[in-house]
Each structure stands twice: as C-alpha cells, then as structure tokens.
C-alpha cells in the first residue's frame, strides 16, 4: 500500500550548497530524507556544490546557501535556510 504513489505532482528539486561543511551536509541529509520519506519516486533531486560549479551561482542566481529550488511543479519556488525543520520544509515546497 502506497498512498503517495501517483497521488501528487512530480518534484524536480535542486539543492545548492557550499562545500562539505557541516551546514551543507545537514541540509543534504535533511532534504534527501524528506524526499525518500514523503515523495518516494515522485522526485528528482540534484545536489550542486557551488565550490565545484561556481558558474552555477551566476546562471542560477544564487545568493544565499543553502538554497533549495523547486523547478517543478511550476511556478518555480525556492526555500532558504538550514532546512532542518521538516514541517517548514514541506510548507516551503508546498508538499501536502
């Protein structure tokens, strides 16, 4: 029984972090856990380390980190913060 399967839109997400700092690692872990537990196979998460791909800071208009981009569902939306609060994270991504 999987009540979430096919029960909602597909989430295309991008998480921008800086290096492998404590804050970055925690943000990655938290978002990965959210995706696995709440979205199952309805998501696609890309993690971008700006220290490795600094040009993306320009092309994707990144100012603060961590930044979590929801590319879809549209309209696009971003969530900023250390991304540790599951409830607020869900509210930010509009996952019901």
């Amino acid at each position: 029984m999987n009540k979430k399967l096919g029960a909602g839109p597909f989430y295309h997400l991008e998480l921008y972090v800086s290096g492998d700092s404590f804050v970055s690692q925690r943000a990655v872990e938290s978002v990965q856990a959210l995706c696995e537990e709440e979205l199952e196979d309805r998501y696609d998460l890309t993690i971008i380390d700006l220290q490795k791909e600094p040009e993306k800071a320009v092309s994707e208009n990144i100012v603060v980190v961590p930044t979590l981009y929801r590319r879809s569902p549209e309209p696009g939306r971003q969530v900023i913060g250390d991304l540790q609060n599951r409830e607020r994270l869900k509210r930010g991504l509009e996952i019901t």
Binding site: Y16, S18, V23, L50, Q51, P54, E55, A57, V58, N61, I62, V63, V64, V65, P66, T67, P75, G76, R77, Q78, V79, I80, G81, D82, L83, Q84, N85, R88, L89, R91, G92
Partner: protein
C-alpha cells in the same frame, strides 16, 4: 595610502586623491540621490584606464542600467562590449520561502569570486545593500554577513564601492567595516531641490569634512571644486583694459589686473550692465573669449540693450568668442545652475566672465549654501586666472552689507556707481572704492551713457 580616482574631479579633491585602493567604500543615500551614478563613474574611470570593473546590481538588469544611463557622456555600453565592464544582475526569486534564518551569503561570495576571476576586475560595485538587506535582512546575523562580505572583498584586494540606503541606518556594522563612508543627500529647501554630499569618515587619511552641493548632469556627478586657498591665487601683473578709456585712466591708464575679481555695485538702472558689456566688448574685440551670465535679462534683451549704446555683441557670438547664458534664479534647482556655470566655464575657457547680478540669488535666499557656492564660483574663476566682473545690485544707498564680507574678501577691485538727483537734474556718479595693488583714482566722477557707450566726465559737475 594609495588612492584611486573616482572619475569625478571634485570628489577626488574632497577625498584628497580618491577612494582607498583595495579597500571598501560605503556610499549611503536615498533613492535617486546619485549613488548608482557615482558608482558607475567609478567603474568607468577604471575602465578608461584599462582596469576591468564589475557591477553587481541587485536592482536593475544590464539592459535597464544601460538604458538609464544611455544619455550620459560616459559610454557604458562600449565598455561592456569591450569587456572592460561586466554587469551581473542578481535577481531575487520572488517566490521564496524562508525555512529558517540560518543561511549564509556564501552563494554570493562564490558568485563574486567566480566573476572576479573570470573578468580580472580590479574595481567592484555592489548596488545596493539596501536591496540585499530588504530581501534577506530579517535575521539579526545578516548584518554580520554583510560585514563578512566586505572583509572578504578587502582580502581579495579589489577596490570596492558598496551603495546603501538609509533604512539600514548610517551606523550599521557594514558602515563601520568600510574604510570610507560617503553620505549623499537630497533635500528640498524653500522649494529648491538641492543635493549635498559629505565624507562621513575616511580611515587613515585626511579629507574635506564640509558638506558640498552637487548636481547630476549629463557629465555625471558634478561637485564643486574645493577652495584650494583663497590666498593662494597667483596674482598676475598683466593688465586688461576695462573697455572704457576714461575708466582705464582711473586705473593708472592701464585698466584692471588680468585674472582679478571686479565688483561693480549700484542701484538699478545706474549703468552696471553697460559697464560689463563695455568690458566684454573690449575682450572680444581683442580676439579673446568671454562669457556672460545673465540672471535677470534674456540673451536677446541684453544684445538689444547694448546695441542701443553702440556695443554690438552679436558678431562675437557668431565668431564663437562670446557666450551669453541667461539663467533664471527662480528656476528649480538653483544650485544646479550654479554648478553648470562652473562646468560651462571649464568647457569654454574664457578670458573674462561677467555675472549680472550676483546678488539676485541670495537676496531671497536664507540658505548660506547658495552664498558659499557663489563664493566658490568667484574663487574658481580666480583659480583659473579668469577676469571676473560681478555686478552687485543694491537696493538702497548703503554699500556692501556686512554679511557680504565673504564676497568682499575675494574682490580685488570695486567700482561703485550711483544715481544722483538734484532739484534740476538727475545724473550718475562713479568712483573706485578699492583696487588692490595698484595706484588708482580716488575722486568721484560723473558719467553719462551715450549712443557711443560710457563717457566719464573728468570735470566736476555743477
């Protein structure tokens, strides 16, 4: 301390050389106060010396910025085309949710680092912190993030200009971290919009501390040059004819000193303008350039009035020797006019300049700023060794008011004119109140203004 030019001559003077090299300057002012203009001129000045610049705009796209400043003398678009100027528009995603306040500006730092490496920029502008602060400024620690950013830029060794608005307050941490803080202000006084600037601090170096008026013109940010020193002007002993033979005679037969400041005072209708026109006519007749600033008459009026006393000024205008500028003191932006005058003088480089009358400004103006600005114009002419004739319109019998000593101290030669009435007739009188450094006549003479100009009667009247 090494300094770099701002691209604004007057501002460089105020800063005693320019902005601190490889350090950060914070420019604070309201919307429309000229912050972006100043910042762009700073980048343009660098680019003009083949020094790459990076404009990080949080408010305008590259296209909007270039469009806004397209009518300026500085050609930003070609600097962008040649790669000397890079504009990075930092767009803030509208649809943003703040999950927590624990985020850092590292994204921006990485972005700037990438762009600085890519462009090789030596000058950077962040315009403005106000936008950044309004977007992310809720958290208490954001101020610390801004100061961390400034410190980081200083470590990178780029010369930085950051603009900010008043909402952050002038004494924020970021202002403390900056080495130089410049305040821009736009205010309305007596229906006149005036712009002022002041260097709030400049760590480790001297600078002017006064408030200075400035304008934003096609040439950019124009701020009055500093009085280097009132006593410092090189006195010339060359003479220049007054254009009136009998008046030359009163100055030892030779006329004024070239490069001196001459005040002609008198009531309305006693011949001040005619004396000025005689002088200008003489200068132009000798093939030299002259400029007249008229505050009460139009260009056509002065040409017509003077031709009626035999002074035809029009040919000189056609020959490019004479410019007559009619300025209405009641117009909006009075200080702008005055600064434009300085600009016009620097462009035209005349031998002689007349201001007719200097007093129409401050009679109705209680602000000391206008007066000190006029003083600066006189001072500016002196420093350029331009002979200046200033007409002082008096309303009564009394001569110069005590408060005008500021002007008086700058005046080398003072000629007083007056109307006299007896039961039988009206006549005019003239005398030299003072004339520094030369032998001159001390008598009171009568004079007439005829079809052939000024005629000073050497004999006493009845």
């Amino acid at each position: 301390m090494e300094k770099v030019t701002t691209g604004i001559k007057g501002l460089d003077n105020i800063l005693h050389g320019g902005l601190p090299k490889s350090e950060a300057t914070y420019v604070i002012g309201n919307a429309g106060s000229g912050k972006t203009m100043l910042a762009l001129q700073f980048l343009y000045a660098g680019a003009s010396q083949n020094e790459n610049g990076l404009m990080v705009s949080f408010e305008e796209t590259q296209k909007d910025l270039l469009d806004d400043y397209a009518n300026m003398d500085m050609d930003l678009a070609s600097m962008v085309d040649s790669g000397l100027l890079t504009i990075d528009y930092v767009f803030f995603e509208e649809n943003t949710y703040t999950e927590s306040e624990h985020f850092s500006l590292d994204g921006l730092l990485i972005r700037l680092d990438y762009l600085l490496n890519k462009t090789g920029a030596k000058r950077i502008v962040l315009d403005s912190f106000k936008a950044l602060f309004e977007r992310f400024g809720g958290p208490v620690n954001f101020r610390m993030e801004l100061s961390r950013l400034i410190k980081w830029l200083k470590e990178k060794g780029v010369t930085t200009v950051i603009t900010g608005g008043e909402s952050e307050g002038t004494l924020g941490v970021e202002a403390y971290v900056a080495d130089c803080v410049i305040l821009l202000d736009q205010r309305v006084m007596g229906q006149l919009s005036t712009r002022r600037m002041r260097v709030h601090k400049y760590r480790g170096t001297s600078h002017e501390t006064d408030e200075f008026p400035f304008i934003l013109s096609k040439a950019g940010f124009v701020v009055t040059p500093i009085n280097t020193s009132n006593l410092d002007h090189k006195a010339l002993d060359t003479r220049i004819s007054t254009g009136i033979e009998s008046l030359d005679t009163m100055f030892g037969g030779k006329g004024f000193f070239k490069g001196s400041s001459i005040l002609v005072s008198g009531q309305a209708g006693c011949g001040k303008s005619s004396m000025a026109a005689s002088f200008i006519h003489e200068v132009c007749s000798n093939g030299q350039k002259a400029m007249m600033f008229q505050f009460e008459e139009s260009r056509q009026q002065i040409i017509r009035n003077m031709s009626s006393i035999g002074l035809d000024l029009e040919p000189f205008i056609d020959q490019g020797l004479l410019e007559i500028h009619s300025v209405r003191p009641t117009n909006f932006g009075l200080e702008g006019h005055l600064l434009n005058m300085i600009h016009a003088v620097d462009r035209f480089e005349p031998t002689a300049v007349t201001l007719d009358p200097i007093t129409s400004f401050w009679n109705k103006d209680e602000d000391y700023g206008i007066k000190s600005l006029m003083t600066r114009i006189i001072d500016h002419l002196k420093s350029k060794q331009i002979t200046g004739m200033f007409l002082h319109l008096m309303h009564g019998e009394n001569t110069f008011e005590a408060e005008d000593t500021l002007i008086s101290s700058l005046i080398d030669t003072w000629v007083a004119l007056r109307n006299r009435e007896t039961d039988a007739s009206r006549y005019r009188e003239l005398y030299i109140v003072k004339s520094r450094g030369m032998a001159h006549d001390h008598s009171i003479h009568t004079f007439k203004i005829t079809d052939n100009g000024f005629a000073i009667d050497r004999k006493d009247y009845e």
